[in-house]
């Protein structure tokens, strides 16, 4: 089990900017903060960063979805690199990490700076900036099929999939609620989280219905913030200051129809084959996982990942999360220990990687999971996009 490229790479440093519902700094300044924090955390200097990767790359529009790309960061930090890449056509947000694994393996670089910057909180103060539909413009691309039907936001489209999951699994709202309730409790112990005041079942049930069965508290929180991580070649990683967080296995496949309408299994999305691929590249099993940072763009994604990773059986998430005990910090599988995107802020799966490393390095403070966690399952994305990583601290 040593032939896989990812086993020769490790996360060696992480950094996060301030995260807020309205930043005092620009998106680029937040990105610089996160990047320098990660470089210093790894014990590296700018001169030793020889690769840059991001997902989905700079998008020059008002949405704040991806305001900073490789070029802007490279210039701000005056990096001199052997390889760089940013692009959205990849296995979800972790596509940038998988690209970096390939580039390191190809000998193009040794220490890759990977980042994700969100500036959606500021963007939304001025306009319905993330609207999928632009007034007066004809729509191209995969969402064109949704265009005439008032599908203004991804939440509406994802509610289509969520509803089928509810229909097939029989999950009840009070069971779904355990995901956001648990994460808000965790966020209360995370000084960098956006929303930290505990919520109750009553709060969840009273939160506005967006599109059945999706409620406001099922949705992640748009924020301003940036996360950076350093992925290094293993021989370099072993010389640095943090114990390497090895990328033990990745899931990057596209085995299903990559479509927001024709996706093979609407209710499980693209995740099952991705999870299967990840487990096929390691001797570890679901029972070996100490903590999980599962994608939570919507609560439904987290439920999906619990099942698709094999932590419970298909449609068994409702029982697994019942009462919230198993997924709590002191439970058998602590989930989204920093509050996740639902409460910590929508850092789009990179907040999850930051939290994974924080826990594996014992930096969780009052939210630190007991028992010295070593193995973390992480996942990203919904719909036809999915990516997964198993991280193991040496």
């Amino acid at each position: 089990m040593t032939a896989y490229a990812e086993k020769n790479t490790a996360i060696t440093g992480v950094g996060m900017s301030e995260v807020s519902r309205g930043a005092t700094k620009s998106a680029l300044a937040l990105t610089v903060d996160a990047a320098m924090a990660a470089i210093r955390d790894a014990g590296l200097t700018r001169a030793e960063i020889d690769g840059i990767a991001t997902w989905p790359g700079e998008q020059a529009n008002a949405s704040g979805f991806s305001a900073v790309g490789c070029a802007a960061l490279q210039d701000a930090l005056r990096l001199k690199v052997g390889w760089y890449a940013g692009g959205g056509e990849a296995p979800g947000q972790y596509g940038a990490v998988f690209n970096a694994v390939g580039a390191i393996t190809a000998g193009l670089c040794r220490n890759v700076l990977i980042f994700r910057t969100m500036y959606e909180a500021t963007a939304r103060k001025t306009a319905f900036a993330n609207s999928l539909l632009k007034s007066g413009e004809r729509q191209s691309g995969p969402f064109a099929w949704y265009a005439p039907y008032y599908t203004y936001a991804a939440s509406l489209q994802q509610a289509l999939f969520f509803n089928l999951y509810v229909h097939k699994s029989g999950i009840r709202p009070e069971q779904v609620a355990q995901v956001p309730i648990n994460q808000r409790r965790n966020a209360g112990l995370n000084p960098n989280a956006v929303y930290r005041t505990p919520i109750t079942l009553e709060d969840y049930l009273a939160s506005p219905l967006i599109a059945t069965p999706l409620r406001l508290y099922d949705c992640d929180v748009p924020c301003d913030g940036a996360v950076a991580i350093i992925v290094s070649r293993m021989d370099v990683a072993r010389t640095l200051r943090n114990p390497p967080v090895r990328i033990e296995a990745i899931g990057s496949s596209m085995q299903y129809r990559n479509s927001w309408t024709q996706l093979d299994a609407l209710d499980t999305q693209a995740q099952p084959k991705v999870a299967e691929m990840m487990w096929s590249r390691t001797d570890l099993k679901p029972a070996d996982v100490d903590i999980a940072q599962l994608y939570d763009g919507f609560t439904y994604h987290t439920l999906n990942w619990l099942e698709n990773f094999g932590f419970c059986e298909r449609y068994g998430a409702k029982d697994f999360i019942e009462g919230g005990r198993r997924i709590a910090l002191e439970g058998e599988l602590p989930v989204n220990t920093g509050g996740g995107a639902l409460s910590g802020g929508r850092l789009h799966a990179y907040g999850a990687v930051h939290e994974a490393c924080s826990q594996l390095w014992g930096r969780g403070g009052t939210r630190q999971v007991k028992g010295d966690p070593q193995v973390c399952a992480t996942s990203t994305a919904g719909g036809p996009l999915a990516g997964a990583m198993l991280l193991v601290r040496d």
């Binding site: 609207s131 064109a144 008032y150 509610a159 999939f161 969520f162 219905l209 309408t261 024709q262």
Partner: protein, 141 residues
Amino acid sequence: MDTPPAPARTLPAIDKDNCAYWTGGEHGRLMICRCGQCGYYVHPPVPFCPQCESSDVAPEPVSGRGRIASFTVNHKIWVPGLPTPSVLALVALDEQDDVRLVCNITHCNPDAVRFDMPVVVWFEHHEDLWVPFFRPVEQAA
């Protein structure tokens, strides 16, 4: 206070492959690409059959009937005048259920919409296009 008018429908950009789908309604026909060799329906439309590799694929009219594969009832007023509640759905075509069409379900109470409900197409004219919508079969004229 005046109620704002319902927002304009955003229309898709038309190309050589999807044109028949968005214009067939002029003649009351739902046009779906089909392989002339093996009969497989190819959607979204592309002149290549993924089953038999034939390029003999062209739009042809289908029954316009299907079943609701999934749906959601939107309650949020995303823009002024947006009618709520309204139903966004994916309809699986009777001819081949892995052909799923996005639509609004109309002519019925949103609370009455169910999984697997039989529905039938109708069209609304917008600019140069005829946008397909679906309504319950029992409500059809």
